[in-house]
Amino acid sequence: MNARALVNVPKTATAGSVIEIRALIQHPMETGFRPLPNGGLVPRHVIDRFECIYDGETVFVAELHPAIAANPYIAFRTVATRSGELVFRWTDDRGAVREERAAITVT
């Protein structure tokens, strides 16, 4: 998936604190219901799934559907447990995958 993505993870956090994570990705989120001038439909093209893996552990999963706006923005909270890498993975209904990574230092 050749898409621009922005993720915001605090660089540092204290152990046990709740951190907010925000992820924004460029995607048309085409519903598959919009008619074309010739009577056909614009083919469906949506992100199905978003997941966040924190140091090997899946901490957040979202299933996305048509009717979610283009360029979806997802914000969620998790507990800062240990220093490590967060992997953000978006998968769309054509099988394209986009990954973004961010590191966090927990003290």
């Binding site: 922005l6 915001n8 924004l24 990705i25 460029q26 989120m29 360029n71 923005y73």
Partner: protein
């Protein structure tokens, strides 16, 4: 006595309404101030502003080689954050080749065809919008200075005429909404003053980034007028008038609008 006072008040109000036709300088407000707090928060936060995705896309294109010349924008112009700072704030500018006004997207495309020897980018195409957003973003926070060049006077006058000209089946001019009735609502939508401070904007209704021309097109179809073709001189003249009217206001690119 009481009736005479009322008449005097009505007369004074009438005079005030005439005076308000050209919005005084100190009453000028960006479209941003007419939005709800959540949409304002979206624009303010670069991590939530979807327009920033197109800034990123433009940044990639800035250093991508294109055309027969095999050059990228960066090969000539270097680091955009230094060389392009304040550039968008002076557009539309005077163009010596056409001897008229040219907008930022037009200048980017001119550079692309003449210097990069690459095929022209269509108006409202993603690469052109992304590059324009990226260049305009470099001027964020700076005051608009467009329209100061005296050679632009004829285009500026044409833009003012268009702004004040009644158009379409509804027979409305731009000024009827954006000078006389700003702050009121059209259906449930507030009418802003029409200052183009954040273009190209990410419009939630479009779910996409779009130019001022696309926005003007929406206004034109709104008054049931036939829109001008993209890139038409009328749009650039209107843009020139609007940016000179907004001179001194702060650039917000990429703006978010409902």
């Amino acid at each position: 006595m009481r009736r005479a006072t009322l008449a005097a008040v009505a007369l004074a109000l009438g005079v005030a309404a005439v005076a308000a036709q050209t919005t005084p300088r100190d009453e000028r407000r960006s479209g941003f101030t007419f939005m709800g707090p959540t949409t304002q928060a979206m624009q303010r936060d670069d991590m939530a502003n979807p327009g920033m995705l197109f800034v990123l896309e433009g940044e990639e294109l800035w250093s991508a080689k294109a055309g027969a010349a095999g050059r990228s924008c960066a090969d000539c112009h270097g680091d955009a954050s230094a060389t392009m700072r304040g550039v968008a704030a002076r557009y539309p500018a005077f163009d010596t080749t056409s001897n008229g006004a040219i907008d930022l997207a037009g200048r980017i495309d001119q550079c692309r065809t003449a210097r990069q020897e690459a095929p022209s980018l269509p108006r409202e195409s993603r690469p052109l919008l992304a590059l324009t957003t990226y260049v305009a973003h470099q001027s964020r926070g700076m005051p608009i200075t467009a329209g100061e060049d005296p050679r632009l006077a004829p285009a500026l006058a044409a833009g003012k005429t268009l702004y004040e000209q009644r158009l379409g089946q509804l027979n409305l001019a731009c000024s009827h909404c954006h000078d006389d009735n700003w702050g009121r609502t059209l259906g449930s939508a507030p009418i802003p003053q029409g200052h183009p401070t954040g273009y190209p904007i990410y419009r939630l209704e479009w779910q996409d980034i779009g130019s001022l021309q696309r926005r003007l097109r929406t206004c034109l179809t709104g008054v049931r007028a036939e829109p001008f073709a993209y890139g038409a001189p009328e749009y650039i003249q209107l843009e020139l008038f609007l940016t000179s009217r907004a001179r001194g206001m702060t650039m917000e690119t990429p703006g978010v609008r409902p």
